[in-house]
């Protein structure tokens, strides 16, 4: 009973009203990407997602993937859907025209991705992983490697994977054991076992291109001794097609809580032939370019799931007739009132709506800056944009996926018992959302990345890219009385975030546990403050347009949601500051044996 409509009006708002996506068309290489074109493509993508991917979401979940003798079959309908997806050119949106891509901005791909994840996250895994592999090879591969792999990854006839995790190590990649032995002809023989490999084996593409972290024989210990290799399932043939089968096989697939239509594989490499990507022992760096993009992608998954949960819960709350409003019947003509009359149901719906829309605004900001960081002609401007993206990446990943899981849970809550049974599809969203908080670095790792790496980097320079615009906005708006109800709470939360940031910087210098203990709460505080900034900026626009015009209702809804956010969600920053200020002691005092 879940429903889904692509939120096209929301896209137009964040891209063209809140931010200026039109500015991207000024950048070299993006001249085609006018707001009109972007809007038209989003609309097309919306149709595909609504009509092709969404209908397969629950059936794929019910059926799951099949494993037999090293062969993996995706659920019924996935092959056809992938063909339609590929033929529609959706695999090559943001790829370089040199390799057959369409050269469109990441910003566009971001929101196409959101719709794909809203409608069928499992399906989205397959092209999503290919995109990561494309990025790693395009940034670190040799010309020959690019020529061999990029056109195939772009047009979707081949797909990709990221092979990092091993049975004994996930977060701590320094412990990797997979070996790469030089074969003498410039190639390497890769041997080892990788687990949790999404899209490691499946029947959607002709070939699968694995990007594998492994150790060379002379490698130093730890992460400084890891190299990246490209290891295809079938060795590339001379004609650009496929040649001999390589020594990499799927040993089994995992039985998981969610994303059941996505094949999560154990991959065995047995003297598989591979090529080095980038410099020896510099694999972590190459992997991180892939990982950073992947982290943003996971954040978008969280946003996509949240949107679907919200749409389903909204429809249910409007239709489900049960009891009467507390103040007396709201719809006397009906046998009962729809449950949306209840403050507590509205609280839950508004919590979803307010967090989702702020997250989407942050996604737009991040995506546009990501494009600027790659294409802007001024190196200083590129650096600024890169700083902001680096700062926001852990927040996008962790906060958006927390929002996704919370929204799915609220969706179940609103639907009561009907949310808990499989039939209506809401419980699937809870199960699917859970993984997003875990993979590509758990949300705890994201928080550590934020406080341990991003905060101190260049003496806080990354922070400047967020704190200065917000501080400037607050100063600018001080004179506007109508903005006071939004700017004052923002300023208050911002002041607390400044305090928390200074506190962590100082306490963390003396004792890293202090930063570690504050990390998750700090990330949440940052996300809430950033959301408040998005809402205050939204309110500035909405105030001017809410009085008249055919869209006035849209803007009035924005203002009401902004007020809800400021009144009901933002105050949590106060308690978070109190918690952060309590330091590491309350969490570190208990001895390990006493647990």
């Amino acid at each position: 009973m879940t429903t889904y409509k692509a939120p096209l009006r929301e896209y137009r708002f964040v891209l063209s009203e809140l931010f200026d996506v039109g500015s991207l068309a000024q950048l070299p290489g993006y001249t085609e990407a006018t707001p009109d074109t972007i809007e038209a493509i989003l609309e097309e993508a919306g149709k595909l997602c609504e009509e092709v991917l969404f209908p397969l979401n629950r059936s794929g979940d019910e059926e799951g993937c099949h494993y037999e003798n090293g062969v993996v079959r995706t659920p019924a309908g996935f092959k056809e859907a992938y063909r339609a997806f590929r033929e529609g050119g959706w695999t090559s949106l943001a790829c370089d025209p040199e390799w057959g891509g369409q050269g469109l901005p990441h910003t566009l791909a971001f929101f196409v991705e959101e719709m794909v994840c809203s409608t069928n996250m499992s399906f989205g895994m397959y092209p999503g992983l290919s995109h990561g592999a494309y990025r790693a090879l395009s940034m670190h591969g040799t010309e020959a490697q690019k020529k061999t792999y990029l056109p195939k990854l772009a047009d979707g006839t081949w797909s990709g994977t990221m092979c990092l995790t091993e049975p004994h190590c996930g977060t701590d990649l320094g412990q990797i054991r997979t070996k790469a032995i030089p074969a003498g002809d410039g190639k390497y023989r890769i041997t080892g076992t990788k687990i949790f490999i999404s899209a490691g084996e499946h029947d959607l593409t002709d070939n699968i291109v694995h990007l594998v972290l492994a150790r060379l024989p002379d490698a130093p210990e730890g992460t400084r001794g890891i190299s990246l290799f490209v290891v295809p399932k079938f060795l590339p043939g001379p004609d650009g097609g496929i040649g001999a089968r390589n020594g990499v096989r799927c040993g089994s697939i995992e039985h998981k809580m969610g994303i059941k239509a996505s094949a999560t594989c154990v991959m065995n490499f047995d003297e598989a032939e591979g090529e080095l990507v980038g410099a020896p022992h510099k694999g972590m760096r190459a992997m991180f370019t892939m990982m950073n993009a992947a982290r943003l992608g996971v954040g978008v998954q969280g946003l996509g799931l949240a949107e679907t949960a919200y749409q389903g819960a909204r429809a249910y709350a409007a239709e489900r007739l049960q009891g009467r409003a507390l103040k007396g019947p709201a719809y006397p003509e009906k046998p009962a009132d729809p449950i949306i009359v209840h403050p507590d149901v509205r609280r839950m719906l508004l919590t979803m709506k307010a967090t989702i829309e702020a997250a989407r605004a942050l996604a737009a900001w991040t995506a546009i800056e990501l494009d600027v960081s790659e294409k802007h002609p001024d190196p200083e401007r590129r650096q600024e944009a890169e700083d902001l993206v680096a700062l926001l990446t852990p927040i996008v990943k962790a906060w958006f996926t927390d929002v996704g899981f919370a929204a799915a849970n609220l969706g179940v809550q609103i639907m009561g018992g009907h949310g808990y049974i499989r039939e209506h599809g809401m419980e699937q969203l809870v199960r699917d959302a859970r993984i997003t908080q875990l993979y590509e670095g758990t949300n705890g790792i994201q928080a550590l990345d934020l406080v341990g790496r991003k905060l101190p980097m260049h003496m806080g320079r990354l922070l400047r890219r967020f704190f200065h615009p917000v501080s400037g906005f607050i100063e600018e708006q001080a004179a506007d009385q109508t903005m006071a109800e939004f700017v004052l709470p923002l300023a208050k939360a911002f002041g607390k975030l400044q305090q928390a940031t200074a506190h962590i910087a100082q306490a963390g210098l003396k004792d890293p546990d202090e930063a570690g203990a504050a990390a998750a709460d700090y990330l949440k505080m940052f996300a809430l403050t950033a959301s408040a900034y998005m809402w205050a900026k939204t309110a500035k626009i909405a105030l001017a347009k809410s009085e008249a015009g055919e869209d006035a209702g849209f803007y009035r809804a924005k203002l009401a949601t902004a007020r809800f956010f400021m009144a009901r969600l933002l105050p949590e920053t106060s308690s978070l500051l109190t918690v952060i200020a309590s330091g590491a002691k309350p969490v570190m005092a208990l001895e390990a044996e006493a647990f």
């Binding site: 003496m459 806080g460 400047r464 501080s471 200074a502």
Partner: protein
């Protein structure tokens, strides 16, 4: 006897450097060399040496005026000048015959009670004085200086047969006037520092070749973990000149007993012979173990491969977390093996040489600290490792445990008893570590007392006679909110019953100024009110220091920059170590001095009686000094720039600085009244416009960037008095408000933030 005039014979690098340092002490000095060949000017060699020194960087002279105290001449025409000298230093070729024939000539020209000394580093004293008269021998010692003589603090003295009072007089002169740490040593090859240091270098080279180590790893291992300079061994050889090695090696092997451990290290390695033959003698030649490859338009730092002898790009050392001596000696890899071989043998060697080369371990440690810039001497290092662990490590490595180390088992070479530092003597008993007469070290005060106040960045100590000492001890002595809080606290404490305050510490630098990392971080998170508060409270505290009801004497050594310099400017008097490097360098990071530095400097220049008439020359001088971030390269130079006043004192010996500052503080305390609040009249906009024109000209000439102009503009606004008029009187608070405003405006500029970040990350200013 007093040394009123001295002479140096031999105007090479060492001789001329020694002469310069004697001149730096304000003592006239004659500098002679042989007659220049094919040159109408027969004294061209000595004259050329002085001229070269006036251009050299780092400068041998502390002030150009010191060069005027050097009288140059040649050994044939000017030998008569020596008759007036109380001390004659010989620094000629390391050739016994040359030296002997010179001494013979000195017999007749020297004053009867003049001391003659040789700066030899390789020839035994008993050979030098062979055939000399009794009177000569009773006036002859070896004074072994280290290169460069102005900056290296060690002076080894071999007394030989000289009369004790002569030796004492010379030691006292070297200590108080030349600022040297005098270590008395025996007449043994290499004396102390080069005996041990030479062994260390030769062992470090031999074992690195033997283990086929990358020199980056070797240098990292022989650097910070042991508290040695980061040049390690190969970097050090590049610095001092690789061609010196074979000479030193030959001389050591020839003079040391056959069973000396040095002999086992072998001769000059073939790689080194080849490098010297090809002109790779170090930084003075085509490069050394490291070189800068400029071929093909690139600038690439390269390192030599000890196995192939080929150059390859420098890479990062693989030292990892081994940051201490203990950690690196434990490592189970080639680097650990290297550290064990080199350091266990070097420290063991040092321990086997007492009392052969020096009476006690204190002299050995002092010599290595002052002569090789080791943070700890060999016996302090053995204490750090632990004498038992050290002995066990020697045994494990199959090396003999020296007797002295045996006697230290179960205890240590140094201990603190009753708040006093004691050392283990060769008799096996402990004796107090004696400081020279009149030396007062904060280190010793701290050992025997508890601070009057203390926090993470600073402490306050009672140094006796009612004088308190404020010590900074943060990283680089950068000033942060805690340092500021302790200054305030010091004022409160001294006010209640003490006589005076000395601001002094024994770090490498007095203070590098405000902690700009903190300010940058705060600026990055847009915490503007917090930063403004930091600036305002700093101004308030410095002003309180100036008007405190007791005298404040600042005693800097090393760098006193920015906020550190502003402390000197707010003190009643300064007693500076001669090697003080003072300046207001804020414009380098795109700021203006904000803790009263602009205010104090403009008031000083306006009140300067020597300046030409009218306010403009004073404003221009102040502006130029601050805008160009001028740093005085010595205390003497600081007087020219008015960072120090004419009446401020200069102490040559670092170890005597605190005692001198304390004496100065007590003298001022005798009948002290705080300064009267001052006002100043400045011309305002007209002066600002004039300064703007000057900056515009510099920009047109490409000597200043666009943003330099913005920073200079903000500075001009402060120094011209803002919107004032020459008939108005400006108070200090008004000037401080101008400083604050300029500071905050600049801090909001992203170009200033980029400059701060660059300075913190690279240690160099960014010209954006």
């Amino acid at each position: 006897m007093t040394i009123r005039k001295a002479a140096v014979i031999g105007a090479g690098v060492m001789g001329s450097g020694i002469a310069a340092q004697i001149a730096n002490a304000g003592v006239p000095v004659v500098l002679l060399d042989i007659v220049a060949k094919d040159n109408p000017n027969r004294s061209a060699i000595a004259e050329g040496a002085v001229a070269r020194m006036l251009k050299a960087d780092p400068a041998p002279f502390m002030h150009p005026s010191a060069a005027k105290l050097v009288t140059t001449g040649n050994l044939e025409d000017d030998l008569g000048l020596l008759g007036e000298c109380d001390w004659i230093v010989e620094a000629v070729l390391e050739d016994l015959d040359v030296k002997r024939s010179l001494y013979e000539r000195l017999e007749s020209v020297r004053k009867a009670d003049a001391i003659v000394s040789s700066n030899t580093s390789t020839i035994p004293l008993k050979l030098l004085t062979e055939g000399r008269t009794d009177a000569f021998r009773k006036h002859f010692v070896i004074t072994h200086f280290f290169n460069p003589p102005r900056y290296m603090r060690l002076l080894e003295i071999v007394p030989g047969e000289a009369e004790p009072e002569k030796v004492a007089a010379l030691s006292d002169f070297a200590d108080r006037r030349l600022g040297k740490g005098v270590v008395v040593t025996k007449d043994t090859p290499g004396f102390i520092a080069n005996r041990i240091g030479g062994y260390w270098i030769a062992a470090g080279l031999a074992h690195a070749i033997d283990l086929a180590l990358d020199i980056e790893d070797a240098d990292a291992a022989m650097g910070r973990p042991f508290g040695f300079p980061k040049t390690g061994i190969f970097g050090l050889l590049d610095l001092v000149g690789i061609d010196l090695m074979p000479h030193v090696g030959r001389s050591m092997r020839a003079t040391l007993p056959k069973n000396d451990a040095y002999q086992k290290l072998g001769g000059t390695p073939p790689l080194v012979e080849k490098m010297i033959a090809e002109g790779y003698t170090g930084r003075k030649g085509k490069g050394g173990f490291y070189r800068l490859d400029r071929s093909g338009g690139k600038r690439e730092k390269q390192a030599i491969d000890l196995v192939t002898g080929e150059y390859r790009p420098v890479r990062e050392a693989r030292l990892g977390d081994a940051k201490t001596a203990g950690a690196i000696l434990q490592r189970q890899d080639k680097i650990g093996e290297y550290a064990r071989r080199v350091m266990l043998s070097t420290l063991g060697y040092a321990a086997s040489l007492v009392p052969e080369i020096a009476d006690d371990v204190v002299a050995v440690d002092e010599a290595m600290r002052l002569g090789y810039n080791w943070k700890k001497g060999p016996f302090q290092l053995i204490d750090e490792i632990g004498p038992d662990a050290f002995a066990a490590a020697l045994e494990k490595q199959g090396m003999a445990v020296p007797k002295l180390v045996e006697s230290a088992r179960g205890r240590s070479f140094y201990r603190v008893a009753d708040g006093r530092l004691e050392h283990l003597t060769t008799s096996g008993a402990y004796a107090e570590v004696k400081r020279p007469d009149g030396v007062l070290l904060l280190e010793d005060v701290k050992r025997r007392s508890k601070p009057l106040a203390k926090n993470g960045s600073a402490s306050l100590w009672d140094i006796g006679d009612g004088v308190a000492c404020l010590e900074f001890h943060s990283k680089m002595n950068a000033l942060d909110t805690e340092s500021m809080a302790l200054i305030q606290k010091a004022i409160d404490i001294v006010k209640k019953g003490m006589k005076a305050l000395v601001v002094y510490n024994e770090g490498s630098n007095f203070s590098v100024g405000a902690n700009i990392g903190l300010a940058l971080y705060a600026a990055n998170i847009a915490a503007w009110p917090m930063i403004e508060e930091m600036v305002a409270s700093g101004q308030k505290i410095y002003k309180a220091l100036k008007y405190a009801p007791f005298p404040v004497v600042a005693a800097p050594s090393g760098m006193a920059l920015g906020g550190g310099c502003e402390i000197l400017l707010h003190s009643d008097a300064v007693q500076a170590h001669a090697e003080s490097y003072i300046g207001l360098v804020e414009t380098g990071v795109g700021l203006v001095p904000g803790w009263g530095g602009c205010k104090e400097m403009i008031m000083r220049w306006m009140a300067n009686k020597k300046r030409p008439g009218g306010p403009m020359p004073a404003i221009s001088q102040t502006f130029e000094t601050i805008a160009m971030a001028k740093v005085a390269k010595s205390a003497m130079e600081a007087k020219d720039l008015l960072f120090l006043r004419a009446e401020d004192g200069i102490t040559m010996n670092r170890d005597r600085l605190l005692a001198d500052a304390k004496a100065k503080a007590l003298a001022l305390a005798a009948d002290y009244t705080p300064p009267q609040p001052a006002t100043v009249s400045l011309p305002g906009p007209t002066a600002r416009a004039a300064l703007g024109l000057a900056v515009g000209e510099l920009q047109r000439q490409g000597k200043a960037t666009q943003y330099d102009g913005t920073v200079a503009g903000a500075l001009a606004e402060v120094l011209s008095g803002g919107d004032t008029d020459i008939v108005d009187e400006l108070t200090e608070d008004q000037l401080l408000a101008l400083e604050r405003r300029a500071f905050m405006t600049l801090l909001r500029n992203s170009k200033t933030l980029a400059r701060m970040e660059h300075m913190l990350e690279t240690g160099k200013p960014l010209r954006n």
